[in-house]
């Protein structure tokens, strides 16, 4: 009888632990899983003439940071930027001709960031839907915990998803770094937009 009771108690504990784990996992995964719709990824990659895909989770970022040279300017900057990040997912597609993605494709991507934590920060829309830009920021409390950038050009589509703590100075540091010249924004070409 005592044996039976022990067995029932063990089963109950197991079930409770299992339920707890099942409830916790999505919460953990939410921060780590990419918000890119994988199927669309493949579809776009198949149409693109040039694809750049980078997927780095926290473990990979930590590993990579060990090999960044703190004496090198770019490496040191990268080291500083990634230290508080959970993941970086980059998808950059270049197409040989326009019309390789549809406004519906962009809408599918945007739908991933309609959650309560995500706030649209920048929204630029072109007439043909081929020069759209979106920047979504994930705010938790007063802290930026994630950022998603969607930049659509007629022959290029870039998506960047950064998960983790991002400080405004990090963003400032990012633009105009890593070999990308800082644009003189006053002289930048104006684009037709709504």
């Amino acid at each position: 009888m005592t044996r039976m009771k022990r067995w029932i108690a063990a089963c109950r504990t197991g079930v409770l632990l299992g339920c707890g784990l099942l409830l916790t996992l999505p919460a953990i995964a939410q921060d780590v899983q990419p918000n890119f719709p994988v199927e669309l990824d493949k579809k776009l990659a198949a149409r693109a003439s040039d694809v750049n895909e980078v997927t780095m989770n926290k473990t990979m970022l930590k590993f990579a940071s060990q090999f960044l040279d703190s004496k090198d300017k770019d490496d040191a900057q990268a080291q500083r930027l990634i230290q508080n990040l959970n993941a970086i997912y980059v998808r950059s597609y270049e197409f040989s001709q326009p019309g390789q993605y549809t406004p519906e494709d962009l809408q599918t991507i945007r739908r991933q960031f309609l959650g309560p934590d995500w706030n649209p920060m920048v929204k630029v829309r072109s007439k043909k839907g081929e020069g759209d830009t979106d920047v979504y920021v994930k705010m938790v409390g007063n802290e930026v915990k994630g950022m998603f950038v969607l930049d659509a050009e007629p022959k290029e589509l870039d998506m960047v998803y950064i998960s983790g703590s991002i400080r405004p100075e990090d963003l400032k540091e990012l633009s105009g770094s890593f070999g990308v010249p800082n644009l003189n924004l006053q002289k930048s070409p104006t684009k037709e937009s709504k």
């Binding site: 990979m60 090999f67 990268a78 830009t133 684009k191």
Partner: protein, 134 residues
């Protein structure tokens, strides 16, 4: 001896014979009794030994390998070299993977940087357009 053989044949017919047993024992003693070696036996043996092909003395590596201490040392050295080789191979692979990861991070940040630049230019363009319209 002939007599012993005859007696043996008889005993096979009649069964146990104490006389025969005594005779057998006597015969056995006489046969097993150590006698002097024939003349020149030792010389002949030595001559045959000399005639045998001589073995070459073992070379020092072979002699050394028979030593258990040397064998142990060789085994330890082999194990050590395998271990050290494995460690350096692992280190080399880790270095390659690390360099790849580093390149990936830099590529990701480069694309991010470039994308943010595009966004800035678009936002700026949008603002300029709006100002022009006003």
């Amino acid at each position: 001896m002939v007599e012993f053989g005859e007696k043996m044949q008889d005993s096979e017919k009649d069964g146990f014979d104490p006389e025969l047993e005594a005779m057998f024992e006597q015969e056995l003693r006489a046969t097993l009794q150590a006698g002097p070696a024939p003349d020149g036996f030792a010389d002949r043996v030595l001559a045959r030994v000399d005639a045998l092909p001589r073995h070459e003395p073992l070379s020092w590596p072979l002699r050394a390998i028979r030593n258990p201490v040397v064998r142990g040392a060789i085994a330890a050295a082999l194990l050590l070299s395998v271990g050290v080789g494995g460690y350096f191979e692992h280190k080399r692979e880790r270095q390659i993977a690390g360099e790849h990861a580093r390149q990936q991070v830099l590529l990701a940040l480069r694309i991010t940087s470039s994308t943010l630049q595009d966004v800035r230019s678009k936002v700026d363009g949008d603002t300029t357009n709006q100002q022009d319209a006003n």
